[in-house]
């Protein structure tokens, strides 16, 4: 991987700002599920930012980090929505 253009760096910054925009929903969104959407956005967007950074910084290891993040994104949603059995 070669150290790449300022464009990819600019795109990383813009993408990060987009994620911040999505965080407003976490602050506002009336229900817990609405706020969960922000977490979803950060998960997918986080993967995207990591992949872009992996290119700009010529750090292949960040792709592995993106992979781990992608794997874990669903666990939080599952943790939110599963119902427990009724206690005895």
């Amino acid at each position: 991987m070669t150290e790449s253009d300022p464009l990819v760096l600019l795109l990383s910054f813009v993408l990060l700002m987009t994620l911040v925009l999505g965080l407003v929903r976490a602050l506002r969104g009336p229900t817990l599920e609405d706020r969960m959407l922000s977490v979803q956005l950060l998960g997918t967007g986080g993967v995207a930012v990591l992949l872009l950074l992996a290119d700009v910084m010529a750090a292949r290891a960040l792709i592995d980090v993106a992979l781990a993040l992608a794997l874990l994104a669903a666990v939080a949603a599952a943790a939110l929505t599963r119902r427990e059995v009724d206690r005895g």
Partner: protein, 322 residues
């Protein structure tokens, strides 16, 4: 142009971390606070990535955002009102808390400024690089964790185990979860094996690339948590006896190795050069299983069935569901 962009990115990340941290803690609505905390963890992972610390980014994504997030979301269920109002301090306590916080902030600020102004004769990274060839691995983070500062890691594992025993002392486990529908089952079917394989990959690759026992253990724990969320009561765990062996194995193998080398005349935890790589992998393997078991059992929130002190068959309400 590029430096401007880097500075912008760094400033944005720093500002976001501060803002999110503050918002998460100061939020009167607990649900909001928990979600913001998860978001904080994810942003912190991105920050570690920016600081060229992929090992930390992996650990933060797995533990900070994934497992802590799941734990906090679970804890939310117990609090019907989800209001943080009761815990806020007033009067003299508030003043003392504010004073203490100011003093701590001043202390950290002074330490930071001193460190920046006078970096010292030699950076630690230089020392690590100089001795890396002797450590048995080529990933400097693993070398520090498992070789140069192995004692610290041993103590960390012991702390984890102690914390788990503390959780067990609180009472029996939470009830399990209802059976998942077809979508969740489908998700589990492919995600759990992937998590396990990736965990194994991270454990193996930790010797020469970012990865290692903590990251691998966290991924395995996430797999177990996912199984439990899908309604499988046993959630990937072996029976109670084997659980105890696995939990003890992390600290145990570490200690055994450390003591074994003293027999040959070396210091405690001073690995023989030729065997360093193998020894590190051995210790890391058992540590991975122990960490995974600890985190997953912590999620259960109490003693699982089979751990109860008495085996006289005395039944309680909670044991009925096992």
């Amino acid at each position: 142009m590029e430096t401007v962009l880097w500075n912008l990115l760094d400033l944005a990340l720093a500002g976001l971390l501060l803002g999110l941290g503050w918002a998460a803690v100061a939020s009167p609505d607990l649900k909001r606070g928990v979600i913001l905390f998860i978001a904080f963890g994810l942003l912190l992972a991105i920050t570690w990535a920016r600081l060229r610390a992929p090992d930390l980014a992996l650990a933060e994504a797995a533990i900070g955002a994934g497992i802590s997030g799941a734990l906090l979301l679970l804890a939310l269920r117990d609090d019907p009102s989800s209001e943080a109002g009761d815990g806020i301090a007033t009067g003299p306590v508030a003043w003392m808390t504010a004073l203490l916080t100011l003093m701590l902030a001043g202390l950290f600020g002074w330490a930071l400024l001193t460190a920046l102004a006078n970096p010292g004769p030699e950076r630690l990274a230089g020392q690590v690089a100089a001795h890396l060839a002797d450590s048995g691995v080529t990933n400097p983070v693993t070398a520090v964790l498992l070789n140069f500062r192995a004692y610290d890691t041993l103590l960390e594992l012991a702390v984890l185990l102690a914390a788990l025993l503390g959780i067990f002392a609180l009472g029996p486990a939470r009830p399990g979860f209802k059976e998942g529908g077809p979508v969740l089952d489908g998700l589990i079917r492919w995600l759990v094996p992937l998590l396990v394989v990736t965990g194994g990959y991270l454990l193996w690759v930790g010797a020469h690339a970012p990865g290692g026992a903590f990251q691998a253990g966290a991924l395995l724990a996430a797999a177990a948590i996912l199984l439990r969320l899908g309604g499988r009561e046993g959630g990937g765990f072996p029976g109670p006896v084997l659980q105890r062996w696995v939990l003890a194995g992390g600290v145990g193998v570490f200690l055994l190795v450390g003591l074994a080398v003293t027999v040959v005349g070396l210091d405690f935890l001073e690995y023989p050069r030729a065997w360093s790589g193998v020894i590190i992998l051995l210790i890391e393997s058992f540590a991975t299983l122990a960490i995974a078991a600890t985190l997953a059992l912590a999620y259960i929130g109490g003693r699982p069935s089979g751990w109860d002190a008495s085996s006289t068959g005395r039944t309680t309400e909670r044991q009925e569901q096992s």
